[in-house]
């Protein structure tokens, strides 16, 4: 099986302000982007399960201009608060890297 990291040129997470966490998957080429996009591998249910949320608060956006998929979720903890583990939100994409893609 192919993993997401093998078809992406960038997988990252980052704060979108202190209250939201946003994930970007930018694909190596348009063909594979369209394949993954249309197979709905990156979806609200997967994020809800992985980050323990309800699917309604997960926003999944297809961005054809950059052959990218963006997902934004509420931050599990406000950036920099006592329980936060990752002030920039930069290392929260780990579980995405080995996601299986068609």
């Amino acid at each position: 099986m192919t993993k997401l990291w093998q078809v992406a040129k960038l997988i990252r997470s980052k704060n979108s302000g202190p209250f939201e966490l946003t994930f970007d998957v930018i694909f190596k080429d348009r063909e594979i982007y369209e394949k993954v996009r249309d197979a709905r591998i990156i979806n609200a249910q997967w994020f809800a399960r992985t980050y323990r949320l309800t699917p309604e608060v997960v926003s999944v956006i297809e961005y054809d201009a950059a052959a990218a998929i963006k997902v934004t979720i509420p931050r599990p903890v406000i950036s920099g608060d006592v329980d936060d583990t990752d002030v920039f939100g930069g290392q929260q994409y780990g579980p995405l890297v080995d996601l299986e893609v068609p």
Partner: protein, 455 residues
């Protein structure tokens, strides 16, 4: 005027840019130089404490080159979100650095400062008038939160910059500002299409971040007409392509299609990104929807407590094989010892948390992997109302933890490696962001104070 040329010195003032690149960019005859100096990204410390992300030396290095270039070319220099959070103290700090540079370099200019720290009485009145509304995932905001805040800033739009430019300001240093307003003010003031302008500003605000492979911070340049802008890196080692420019809309933004500003929303859904050469990209086709109501975003931070930390690691395979039960026992023993030393009721005055590096320090309870390797790192974290209490408690933590036993070994063991003496480190005050709200001011200038001086 049919076009305007915009130079973004760097993504964040203090992070640097190449002097050679600035020279090349100045040869392209920009109409102004802009640079953002702030972010909430590094967390609440800078807004809460008033300290700065970079050193004065780093700010001075970047600002000196910008001011020298801008004054030589007789063009405005515009700096926003002074010294990270844009509090009044941070604005004064960057202004002081600008004055010192002017003295040292014998520069003279009309300086405008835009103060964006907010009066608590004003905000409480706005709250009572229901003119403050929450954004996504906002915590509860009431008058007590406003009172508790160490600092609250409002993020200004282009209007205070336009006011300062219209008054003849040659250098503008602003407190908290939207990153894009730094680059949009002058072009919008000169009548260029706001959709083209705001999109250009979004691409330029992070400096060289929109290039194909950014290896170090540097300048970025755009040439804007009414219908499109062309972005081209002034550093010959860098190049942009349509995907790298389009990708920048993703960065630190919850959607690549919308950028919300005080005066409206940039919509890039139908934007076109076309290669002009192998390193320049033409962007067109965005739209700008003026806001129904003009709003200013608030940022606030309050004290969350004082912390002491202890860093250590565990290597013994016997301990690691029963790590969870060993750590549970250790935490209980620590709390019992603290009660014995400090008395009943102490448990309401502190928090004790353990971060386990090598297990789930990055994702905390969300971590799906459960295994551990040949060693784990431990970070004991004590949070209390004073630094003295946090440090006193952590001294008991350090001693109990370092000798916490496992049944397999008889006799006194030393079960944690501490790299430091003393093991505890006073981290000082820690803060939390406490609002994600917008205010409806009576006018775009109402919440900001513009001050002029001849430097």
């Amino acid at each position: 005027m049919s076009e305007i040329r915009v130079l973004s010195a760097t993504g964040i003032l203090g992070s640097g840019f190449r002097e050679e690149t600035l020279k090349r960019a100045m040869a392209l005859k920009p109409d102004f130089i802009g640079a953002d100096s702030g972010s909430t990204d590094p967390g609440p410390h800078y807004l809460g404490s008033g300290e700065t992300l970079f050193s004065d030396s780093a700010y001075k290095r970047d600002l000196r080159l910008i001011l020298l270039a801008a004054r030589a070319a007789r063009i405005p220099a515009i700096i926003g979100s002074a010294c990270t959070a844009g509090t009044d103290g941070q604005l004064e700090r960057l202004t002081g650095i600008a004055r010192a540079i002017a003295r040292g370099e014998k520069l003279s200019f009309k300086l405008a400062t835009i103060a964006s720290e907010q009066d608590k009485g004003y905000l409480k009145k706005k709250l009572r008038e229901r003119k403050i509304t929450p954004l996504a995932n906002a915590p509860v905001l009431d008058e007590a939160v406003i009172d508790r805040s160490a600092h609250i800033v409002g993020m200004c739009g282009i209007e205070p910059y336009v006011e300062a430019l219209a008054s003849g300001a040659e250098v503008i240093i602003a407190g908290r500002s939207s990153d894009t307003s730094i680059f949009s003010a002058l072009p919008v003031m000169r009548g260029f299409n706001p959709a083209t302008v705001w999109h250009m500003a979004k691409i330029l605000e992070c400096g060289a971040a929109c290039v194909v492979l950014r290896q170090y911070p540097d300048c970025m340049f755009a040439t804007l007409t009414n219908g499109h802008f062309v972005v081209e890196p002034p550093n010959p080692d860098y190049r942009c392509d349509p995907v790298s420019v389009a990708s920048h809309n993703l960065y630190e933004n919850s959607t690549p299609y919308e950028l919300v500003e005080p005066s409206g929303v940039l919509d890039t859904l139908h934007a076109k990104y076309e290669a002009v050469s192998d390193r320049a990209v033409r962007v067109s086709g965005s739209t700008f929807r003026p806001a129904q109501r003009y709003t200013i975003k608030l940022e606030g931070a309050e004290l969350a407590g004082y912390q002491s930390l202890i860093v250590g690691s565990v290597r013994d395979p016997i301990i690691l094989r029963q790590f969870d039960s060993w750590l549970d026992g250790l935490v209980k023993a620590v709390k019992e010892r603290i009660r014995a030393v400090f008395g009943d009721g102490i448990e309401r005055q502190y928090r004790f948390d353990v971060r386990v590096f090598g297990r789930n320090a990055t994702m905390g309870p969300l971590e799906p992997e459960t295994g551990i390797g040949h060693e784990v790192g431990l970070l004991f974290q004590v949070t209390a109302e004073t630094q003295a209490l946090a440090t006193a408690l952590s001294k008991s933590v350090g001693h109990i933890a370092v000798h916490y036993p496992v049944p397999e070994w008889s006799g006194l063991i030393t079960s944690i490696a501490y790299p430091y003496s003393p093991p505890e480190i006073a981290r000082g005050a820690c803060y939390r962001f406490n609002m994600n709200h917008v205010v409806e001011p009576a006018s775009p200038l109402e919440m900001f104070r513009i001050h002029y001086e001849n430097v």
